[in-house]
Symmetry: none
Subunit: 200 residues, 4 copies
DNA sequence: TATGAATGAGCGTTCATTCAT
DNA sequence: TATGAATGAACGCTCATTCAT
């Protein structure tokens, strides 16, 4: 029987998270300072670190929670069958992850857990993402010469590639979703005709 | 006629870069300190910041130069025709970019220029990477339903995906190059048989 | 026969001074940077120091010239005979010297020459101030138990004291000129009645 | 009930101040470096800035404390009744304030508070100076046509004037105290005879 | 658990002044 | 004279993290 977490503990943690969320709503993730969080929560700085290993752990939790909320919508919606549908359903996540460079960076860093015990909120969402994607791959009419699992990993790769290029002014004239769509079209569907474009 | 850069300026910059390279060879990029660079270069700190906007600008230059040297080898070598050859030739870059987490992060951050004027050394290498890749795509026997340019972008996506997963303990048992190879096989070549794997 | 100062020299100096004056008109003395002056004048930094021993030498010249222009007006006007007239005529100088704390500090520092050879523009103006004051002391109906020279030095002391207190928020509610007037009244005129104020 | 300052805080601040005082005793105020203070105090640099807004704040405190110690002696001693006694008692302060040009400048800058909240140690000492002076003015046999408060302000003005001229080589042959004495004689006492000196 | 003072390593900056060309 | 790159010595600051109470 595990010792039940004390009420006070829960309350303090909730206060910290609530404070952080208010601050983020106002100033964004990038500007969040531990200093401000504890002040707003009305607790001491040390208390923060009694609840979260470090600042990133809070970020992991906050961003993870946000992504989870988005994925909940993905789950509730009927599985997309076509690529435009896939892109459309992904759009809110795309928007969130590109809202701040910092958010993108954190997700990049935490999307793979560094240690087995370290699988945190963000890493969990990648798992969910992957699972959902696998499911979608199976119900859609996509190329069959590759396993759904691999297809899913590829979708992930292109998903990040599209965002990475988004942060690059040189290409920002092309819409994020358009780029993703052309990537996925090429990745998920194999046409028989042969084009002949050339590189610049 | 632009104002010619003075000899002295060139010399000082060279001294700074040389000093930094010696230090990096000894301790790695992560450990590089501006303080140490100027001391080793025998130059005042103010001078450093007259030559580089900040420490990151030096890093951009140093890492960019290193990547350029690797790409020079890519250019000198005959274009790889098969996927294993592509992976093999990419291997040194993979090794360099994963040698230090810090290096990977800097490259991620600088690979896309935020402003047109901001196109620094690293961003330039991405251009070269892309061009080379396009060339390779044309000479190899790859799927023809997609433009070489798009194929190249996909290779990039998988290239980064492989590295990102490498920094993630959960998957690090699979060799970086093996993972890249299976990605590229699926991306560049289309088989006719249909598999039937399932997701976990 | 002294070598005549070359035309070019004179022109360069004039350019520097003109540039400085434009900048000061825009941003004030405090914000003046040698960097900006030479840039605006279109000369190299080293040239600046070929014309002025240091930045302060330029300031000395500029501020001295400004004070001289004010003293020219003092000279042109009829000598004030009463204390209110003295205060009134002094008012423009008071305004200038308290316009920026930096100006006050420079004048404080240069009002006494450090070396005989060093008597610069500001120190010269103190001489003029003193002379004028002595003249005024002689024509006015002031206390006769003290030499005009000493009276003049006292006026100076109170002149600075009034300004010093002006820079102090605690007292800034009392107008600068009012304070100076009451100082000078006490210093220059001796009444026979005895007051009985007490300190706070 | 204000939050009580922790013991540790007090101790750290004391360490910082003690370290600074040792260094000043050795090298003077001018040569004091923040770096050295924290090192000698065995404290982190960040800690320094947690205790003092900046280096000047420490100087304010240190110099203010020194002046306070001198004023303590003024308070303990019997009030001077004659001008030579006044000058004699003031002498140690005169010596301290002219010991380093830097000290004089700091005092000038901080003697007037810019904001009400800005009343620092040095500004406080000016208040004490003034109060003491008022007391002395009342017990001595000085001119009665002017309030002690105004007399006190005049003494201040001459006190600073004497020091300002001291930093000026042209006049440094006349002893500081002698000059002050002649100023105060003229300011505090009114003779009936009329001299007839002329200005130079 | 909670507290909050202390840590600490290094970055970026400042800008008048010098000096080799 | 003119040039302008180089100097240089601190300062101020950052801010997540630790640790003694």
């Amino acid at each position: 029987m595990t010792k039940p977490v004390q009420q006070r503990t829960l309350k303090t943690r909730a206060k910290l998270i609530a404070a952080a969320e208010v601050l983020i709503a106002k100033e964004g993730y990038t500007a969040l300072r531990v200093e401000d969080v504890v002040q707003k929560a009305g607790v001491a700085k040390g208390t923060f670190f009694a609840h979260f290993r470090d600042k990133d752990a809070l970020m992991d939790r906050l961003i993870g929670a946000h992504i989870d909320r988005i994925l909940d919508d993905w789950e509730k919606a009927p599985a997309p069958k076509t690529i435009p549908e896939v892109v459309a359903i992904m759009s809110p996540l795309l928007t969130f992850l590109t809202s701040e460079r910092y958010v993108f960076d954190v997700v990049m860093r935490y999307s793979g857990a560094t240690l087995i015990e370290d699988i945190g909120p963000i890493a969990m969402t990648i798992g969910r993402f992957d699972e959902l994607m696998c499911g979608w791959m199976e119900v859609g009419e996509y190329r069959a010469d590759v396993s759904p699992q691999l297809l899913s990993e590829g979708v992930q790769a292109f998903f990040f590639q599209a965002m990475a290029l988004h942060f690059c002014a040189l290409h920002s004239d092309i819409a994020l979703t358009d780029r993703l769509q052309s990537y996925l079209s090429a990745w998920l569907i194999v046409k028989t005709e042969s084009p002949s474009a050339s590189c610049t």
